[in-house]
């Protein structure tokens, strides 16, 4: 544009009024600066959440049939995790099946204990659980829940896939 205007000036000495263009450019610039919000560094835990199975039907030590028609996922097992919370919304106890794994707050040692236990189930014993059902206290805060969900989604299934089939059930029902 600069080269063009110079050439133009030489031939017919017409001056472009750049002030008006600059005004407009500054207005555009002001708009973009004012509306500029950098995107937060956000991530997601992707999950496949089919509707849960009623807790009253649970027999977690035996193969079950799940889903509407049951044809595609019959004979597979689900693992139940019971998460209790205190009045502050923090974890007070986590049971895997009927076995208490975490007592008290879910701190680093609690997370390590839960990870160890889940690894034992999924990788060492290779029990073919294809789904985890979290039976959660209504008061539990999202932050605490995500810590448990994070551990669940790290579990590797026998086919090499990461666990994504997780369902939530309210413990008060």
């Amino acid at each position: 544009m600069r080269r063009h205007s110079r050439r133009h000036r030489k031939s017919s000495s017409v001056d472009l009024n750049l002030a008006a263009m600059l005004d407009m450019a500054f207005q555009l610039l002001a708009f973009f600066i004012l509306t500029f919000r950098p995107a937060p560094i956000e991530g997601q835990l992707a999950m496949h959440l089919p509707p849960p199975i009623p807790v009253t039907n649970v027999k977690s030590d035996k193969p079950q049939t799940m889903g509407g028609d049951g044809s595609d996922i019959s004979g597979l097992e689900k693992l139940d995790l019971y998460i209790n919370a205190n009045s502050l919304g923090e974890v007070s106890q986590i049971k895997v099946g009927m076995r208490p794994v975490v007592q008290g707050r879910l701190d680093a040692s609690g997370i390590a204990a839960l990870k160890r236990h889940m690894k034992e189930i999924f990788e060492i014993q290779q029990i073919p659980f294809d789904r985890i059902q979290l039976i959660v206290d209504d008061r539990l805060h999202y932050e605490e829940l995500m810590k448990v969900v994070d551990i669940c989604t790290q579990q590797v299934l026998p086919d090499g896939q990461k666990m994504q089939r997780i369902s939530f059930v309210s413990a008060t029902r």
């Binding site: 205007s5 600059l22 610039l29 973009f32 509306t35 560094i41 991530g43 997601q44 999950m47 509707p51």
Partner: protein, 151 residues
Amino acid sequence: MSAHSSEGAEPNLTPILDLVFQLITFFMLVINFKGASMDLTLKLPVLGSARPLKWEGKMEPLLLNINREGKVHAYGQSVDVEQHVLREARLLKLQLESIGKPLKNNELPVPVIIRADRGVPFRELNHVIEVCQKQGYIQFSLSAMTSEEVH
């Protein structure tokens, strides 16, 4: 500087115009329209293993923000979650019908992104998930920060 010399002086606006246009180009390229659907006041939990969602489908995921009081926000407005999800699901089904993609087992092939404040009780979160499940959504993405925000 004499009065005579300043009288006929014209500033050369071309370099500043170049600079301003470059700045405009920069801001146009980095503008984030998706940010409008996010409630940036929420304090998300921090999980190092959370990864950005790789969604390459043509339909936009349903994004729901849940604040500490359990109220659901979409596009900066507080919405009734039942009505909002029902409306979005209907629109999606119509879109799918129009492009000739029937639903399998009444399951919607679009994820729901839930951005909940770290202090939201499970009761509220579960309610939103159940409402979505009733309408046929089964893919969910729970949002978290990949690292603690630095202010």
